[in-house]
Amino acid sequence: MGNMIINHGLTSFILVVWMSINIFLFVWFYFFYDLGDQFYYTRHLLGSWCACRAPAAVLNFNCLLILLPVCRNLLSLIRGSFMCCGRTMRKQLDKNISFHKLVAYMIGLMTAVHTIAHLLNVEWYNNSRRRMYDPLSTALSDLPDGNNTTYLNPIRNIDNPTYFAMTSLAGITGVIITLCLILIITSSMEVIRRSYFEVFWYTHHLFVIFFIGLVIHGAGRIVRSQQNLVQHNYTLCKDRIESWGKVAECPYPQFAGGAPGTWMWVIGPMFLYLCERILRFIRYTQTVKYRKIVIRPSKVLELQLVKAGFKMEVGQYVFLNCPAISHLEWHPFTMTSAPEEDFFSVHIRSVGDWTQKLISMVEELPEGTQGPRMGVDGPFGTASEDVFDYEVSMLVGAGIGVTPFASILKSIWYKFKDSDPKLRTRKIYFYWLCRETHAFEWFADLLQVLEKEMEERGMGDFLTYKLFLTGWDQSHTDHVMVRFDEDTDVVTGLKQKTNYGRPNWEKEFEQVRKENPSSTVGTFLCGPAVLAKVLEKKCAKYSDVDPRKTRFYFNKENF
């Protein structure tokens, strides 16, 4: 329970705050337009028209919010300045895309409500114009825009609603931006995003048109309120239509449109986003040199890059852009090098168009030459420095989740060699779970190198690692049977033998507890949520209440 509060408490709190602000805005503006005296005549014409103003307010707020989570450099800046405020705060910034999606759903919903309400409004305004309602409505609609009168009903001619929508500024911008929104939403569906990223990415740029249309949407000033409430009191005058303008206490009611307010909400985030794009462009122009290019087995490309002024922490990721392949695409990759090294490296698997093209381009290059021009943005992501705080660490990497651990293990080893005081770790247990080692041979190589170095220094038991192949089949067993008495493992070439199937966590935790009877053990997982639940339970089960004995702390990392 405690873990749940630690892991999800702040997220839930932020969501509750966001939803409360939405509800507050909706209710506040609903009653503002429902109870305000200056809108009495408007309400008479339109019934309950506040149903369109309230969502408009919520839309303003959410359009402000939607641009912020995608300014990743701004978020990095905030993350950097929050170093003092604890990791839980900073980890919220990693959930930015989820928040962006949530805000997008709210915008979609509110747009639907707003549009439906306006459809009704336009229809009623039009009917009023056609004198289909009571005399007061007719009189109000007839008010001309003349010398001593101002109009209330924005429909000046008796035409059909579609004509009004297409000729008024609010109408035409509304239709265009709603259309953009629909296209953005349909191309952002998971199916399209995962399979045809380019369609998603390029269509998403319709948001530029969306925001421009949004800002000028209110410029037509068709939300009109009464200006001369003191001179023309509606309670007195609403039933004396014939005497308007002729009697002293009932001059014509004067109306004026409200100034457009949306620009005040969105101008800030629009400016910030513009800065973000400019910064990405600047980063893209900075020189990145290749220190080394290695083609690993199973079509994995390792790039070792050097960039002036680049500083990273363990477990962070960068975005790469290769203009030779595509000018506009930036793809994220977790870094596999340690901060102590003077370069940063990424391991790129061939999974899609972009990666395939990159690998084939690099394969054709002659030895020793620089690779294609590359832009690097980053680093991003919350660093996982907690790993260094525990005396004993259990690191569990499942499948592709093993990538950040390359960075972590290397960093731990460097710190250990240099006796870095920040490193409190004395012993590491590393569990590597994968269906097959295909595409991860480079990681096995890394473990081999570490194994060798540790043996040379006589620190053989600093790192204990176990590999679990969960996708073994008959050919595996045949292989193992033939070579079971060799020193190194048949699959990985490592000294420690490969285990088959899933780990027996009870046994593993027992072993760790036995070997470390009085330490604090930190458990770190990068893998599926199901495994997280299992490990959490085991940590709770094997922790001792007595602080002198072994205690397990579970950390779910979202690298």
Partner: protein, 187 residues
């Protein structure tokens, strides 16, 4: 990833357009707008488009993800054969359906969305795409090799039991090993 399959996006767009037509139609009829007949038409058109577009087609490359409960719709749509398989026909149908909805403000958005979906389907058709139903794969048993016609009738030839038993004087030459050490009764 590979080449973009436009039909996938057209499908999402058309489904969204169907829902928008439906909503616009309901508003038009519910508020008894002028021209509500177009709204009533739009409700029917929206339902039709949703039913047609709900079952997702099979992707050429990669795994196709079904929508929840789309199997019965897949069967219905498949029954129309080339009318639903061919994307030129779909593009034309959507364009035709969209036109009457353009005559009323409440449904004009649905009309434009469906028009866009129709254009994307046209693009898909020009690229040579087709609608393939996602059907559950029937388990095909691997055909047993030709040489295995019948199991053998008789056991393999062996010497009689007395000869097969281990002899005390020739333990090494025996044909089998005991997993547990065997001792005689008087030990």
């Amino acid at each position: 990833m590979g080449k973009i399959e436009w039909a996938m996006w057209a499908n999402e767009q058309a489904l969204a357009a169907g829902l928008i037509l439906l909503t616009g139609g309901i508003v038009g009829v519910g508020g008894m707008f002028r021209g509500w007949e177009f709204a009533a038409y739009s409700i029917a058109a929206g339902v039709f488009v949703c039913l047609l577009e709900y079952p997702r087609g099979k992707k050429n490359k990669g795994t196709s993800v079904e929508r929840t409960g789309q199997y019965c719709f897949t069967v219905c749509v498949k029954a129309f054969g080339p009318l639903t398989r061919n994307y030129y026909v779909r593009a034309f149908i959507h364009a035709a359906i969209a036109v009457p909805a353009g005559f009323m403000l409440a449904t004009v958005l649905g009309c434009v969305c469906l028009g866009i979906a129709s254009l994307i389907y046209l693009g898909a058709a020009i690229s040579g795409e087709k609608w393939e139903p996602i059907l559950p794969r029937t388990e095909t048993r691997k055909a047993v090799g030709e040489s295995i016609k019948q199991p053998p009738q008789n056991p393999p030839p062996r010497p009689p039991a007395e000869m097969r038993r281990k002899r005390a004087e020739d333990l090494e030459g025996a044909a089998y090993d005991n997993p547990i050490k065997v001792s005689t009764n008087d030990e």
